[in-house]
């Protein structure tokens, strides 16, 4: 049967083009791969190759014709043993349009529904005193004991016992096959770990600090976060990227950045930021067990802080559940990581002034526990968002938007953000202090939303 040759689309944007020149005349033999014609697109001149063998039967669109629509018949090719009498029988090649899918209903602008509430945390009976550093180590050790596919890799994690001594004792217990010192090669080992995750292992990647995860961010986002979606659900990657995040002390601009909003922006990731040792242990265990990629933001200044940690082999903190660290009726303060302590300290000062602050430790940045925040604001009608990171497109911006969508009618004052100063972190002691949120900034913000200046 003769074959119709159609005007091809030769670029993603082409709808019509010029048939510049024919390189085969009627009657010419054509081999697959031969150039039949030159076509001018909106961008360039392209060659049209034949994908069949045969004889050029008829040229339908003459050379020099402009505005030839994509998919118009431009020539007819005769197959082996066919002659021109077959031309009238040329089978139309038609592009079958995809069966039409139902258009999604437009979302109503108002009344954004609340996400489903996160599961409640269990109540534990006995506790032990632990530092955040010990809690993180115990979380990894317990999960590595339970699952042989869990392993830890990063710079100085094995022989040196961790640049911040978080992986103390792990090499001795689990051996060099599972506690792996890497070269200083963040992009490489983050990519390697994602590949191991594709193959079904459960890597824990320690970045010496999250600042260096910028070297590897392509793998965190493109290789870990997006793969499940791009594969239509076929290819998971269970992996934890962890390390100290945010400002330490006097280490300057390149070593003092909060990545919460960077990673929280990305679908396909979970982002956690523990404050207490209990948060650290319970959330890290949950992160390691989670089948998805999790970014786990620790804080160097908290590693040595001591807290009560539930003394129970089944202790775990559900991802997506914020914690009310202090109840109060007059103003809600949200914070994560080290800023939770700043918020609690501010709450003590406010209490003396007769303002009872409710302090919410977010713990999970993505998914954010919107239900807990909204329930609190429905009670207090005021909210201050506190974070160490920069203000622009930060976590506070997100919380302000969430308040618009879910609590607009309950607010008695505009949302106020307390953030790190919108500058790279300075080194000088006085400037560094000015660049970071301090207790008095939070106190002032709370007074402002309570109209108590």
């Amino acid at each position: 049967m003769p074959i119709q040759i159609l005007m091809p689309a030769l670029s993603p944007t082409m709808t019509e083009g010029k048939l510049a020149k024919w390189l085969k005349a009627e009657g010419d033999a054509v081999k697959s791969g031969d150039v039949l014609a030159e076509i001018e697109t909106d961008k360039a001149t392209m060659e049209l190759e034949s994908i069949e063998d045969g004889v050029m039967g008829k040229i339908v669109v003459a050379a020099g014709t402009e505005g030839v629509a994509v998919n118009a018949v431009i020539a007819v090719l005769l197959g082996e043993g066919e002659d021109a009498s077959a031309l009238s029988a040329a089978a139309p090649i038609t592009a079958t349009p995809a069966p039409v899918a139902v258009a999604p209903a437009a979302a109503a602008p108002a009344a954004v529904p609340l996400p489903p509430a996160a599961p409640d945390e269990k109540v534990y009976a006995s506790f032990k005193r632990q530092t955040v550093r010990e809690a993180l180590r115990d979380a990894m050790a317990e999960e590595m004991r339970a699952d042989p596919s869990v392993f830890l890799l990063g710079e100085e994690v094995a022989q040196y016992q961790g640049a911040y001594k978080v992986s103390q004792g792990l090499l001795e217990e689990f051996g060099a096959d599972r506690v792996i010192d890497t070269p200083i090669t963040e992009m490489g080992f983050a990519g390697l770990a994602c590949g191991a995750g594709y193959a079904g292992l459960r890597p824990i990647v320690e970045f010496m600090t999250m600042n260096f995860s910028m070297q590897a961010i392509d793998h965190v986002i493109n290789s870990a976060a997006k793969t499940l979606y791009m594969s239509g659900g076929q290819q998971p990657c269970s992996i934890v990227f962890r390390g100290p995040n945010g400002a330490a002390s006097r280490v300057g601009a390149q070593h003092s950045q909060d990545y919460a909003s960077w990673y929280a922006h990305c679908p396909g990731l979970k982002v956690l930021a523990p404050w207490s040792a209990a948060d650290a242990k319970g959330l890290l265990k949950a992160a390691i067990r989670d089948p998805n990629p999790v970014v786990f933001l620790e804080n160097e200044l908290l590693y040595g802080s001591t807290f009560d940690v539930p003394d129970d082999p089944d202790f775990i903190v559900p991802i997506g559940k914020a914690k009310i660290e202090r109840a109060g009726a007059h103003v809600t303060i949200t914070a994560y990581s080290r800023m939770v302590q700043v918020a609690l300290d501010a709450a003590e000062i406010l209490k003396a002034e007769g303002i009872e602050a409710e302090v919410i430790n977010l713990r999970s940045i993505r998914p954010l526990d919107i239900n807990t925040i909204v329930a609190s604001v429905k009670k207090t009608n005021r909210i201050v968002s506190l974070e160490e990171g920069w203000p622009v497109a930060g976590i506070g911006s997100e919380i302000a938007a969430v308040m618009m969508e879910h609590a607009f009618d309950w607010l008695d004052a505009p949302v106020v953000r307390v953030c790190g100063a919108d500058v790279p972190m300075p080194y000088a002691a006085n400037l560094e202090k000015l660049a970071l949120p301090q207790i008095e900034h939070v106190v002032e913000a709370a007074r402002a939303v309570c109209y108590r200046r």
Binding site: L6, L10, A44, V70, A98, A101, T185, G188, G191, Q234
Partner: protein, 332 residues
């Protein structure tokens, strides 16, 4: 038609194997031509990178692959998927963005996966698959499954820093990885002489103690022989190996590239004098392994598979709008 895995170790291909290589190369060629045609009809959009001209590389490599070996490559991935045994219907339907595609239409030409066939993508960031594939090698070693990771990348990709990070770790930890550099002479419009300091890319692992060799990537027999050597090295615990496949792509970098950076004579010469399919065809005829009728029969069977794939890819529906929201996270 599904590519079968051959037992590793055997070096000289049998007559049946040669016929199979021919069929597999032809399948890739015809599949890609059909994809080009569907692109021309507006049924495939966006980026679409064809493998035409390079077929011998993946066919020769896979012919030497062991049963637990894994494979990962860049965006020029249709040939790898077909030869790893993935269903042409599912691949073509992904190109048309339909629900019947491997990624239900959510990945596209550059992003398909099959854990069943141990094919790990399909990656759009030049060079990213190299550490990812090194991680597959890490997992082979960790689980002691005796597999080797086949990690493909282009001549342009080997200028990326993460490739050297991977070479270092793969050699340091003696990971079972074969790095296959598909040197098709161009990274988009930039020829290798303009992008690479030193043209012997197989030597780029030398500083890490990784052996490498240049291979005639237009000869499936040469590719297979080199693959047997390299895979044996990696599988026996001696660490990674580099194979630089000297090959050529006939089409533009992607569908919208008019490829004006190279002469028509250069392309014609490669097609007429070095075509991997023509070469094997001549050998099959000369050795009496197939006659004209036999060749026609292979051709007919391959065309039928491709036609069926194209029909499936057009008949399969677009993903339901509800698919927009699925597969972002696994419910824990």
């Amino acid at each position: 038609m599904v590519a079968k895995k051959k037992e590793r170790g055997a070096s000289e291909p049998t007559p049946e194997e040669l016929v199979r290589y021919y069929r597999e190369m032809l399948l890739v060629r015809r599949f890609e031509e059909k994809a080009g045609q569907l692109y021309g009809m507006g049924l495939i959009n966006g980026f679409c990178h064809l493998y035409i001209g390079q077929e011998a590389v993946v066919v020769g490599m896979q012919a030497a692959a062991g049963p637990t070996d894994s494979c990962i490559t860049s965006y020029r991935d249709h040939g790898h998927m077909l030869v790893c045994g993935m269903d042409p219907k599912g691949v073509m339907a992904e190109l048309t963005g339909r629900f019947g595609g491997y990624s239900h239409g959510k990945g596209g030409s550059m992003h398909m996966f099959s854990r069943e066939k141990r094919f790990y993508g399909g990656h759009g960031i030049v060079g990213a698959q190299v550490p990812l594939g090194t991680g597959l090698g890490f997992a082979h070693k960790y689980t002691k499954d005796n597999g080797v990771a086949h990690v493909y990348c282009g001549d342009g990709a080997v200028n990326q820093g993460q490739v050297y990070e991977s070479f270092n770790m793969a050699s340091l930890w003696k990971l079972p990885v074969v790095f296959v550099i598909e040197n098709n002479k161009y990274a988009m419009g930039t020829s290798s002489v303009r992008h690479a300091a030193g043209q012997e890319l197989y030597k780029r692992g030398a500083a890490y103690g990784i052996p490498g060799e240049a291979v005639d990537g237009m000869s499936v027999i040469a590719v297979h022989a080199a693959a047997v050597r390299a895979l044996e090295h990696a599988r026996s615990g001696q660490g990674p190996y580099i194979l630089e496949m000297m090959t050529y792509r006939y089409r533009g970098h992607s569908m919208s590239d008019p490829a004006k950076y190279r002469s028509k004579e250069e392309v014609t010469k490669m097609r007429e004098q070095h075509d991997p399919i023509d070469h094997l065809k001549e050998k099959l005829l000369a050795d009496g392994l197939l006659d004209d009728a036999g060749l026609k029969e292979v051709d007919r069977a391959v065309k039928a598979v491709v036609t069926e794939a194209a029909e499936f890819a057009q008949a399969s529906p677009e993903p339901d709008p509800s698919e927009l929201w699925t597969d972002v996270l696994i419910e824990a």
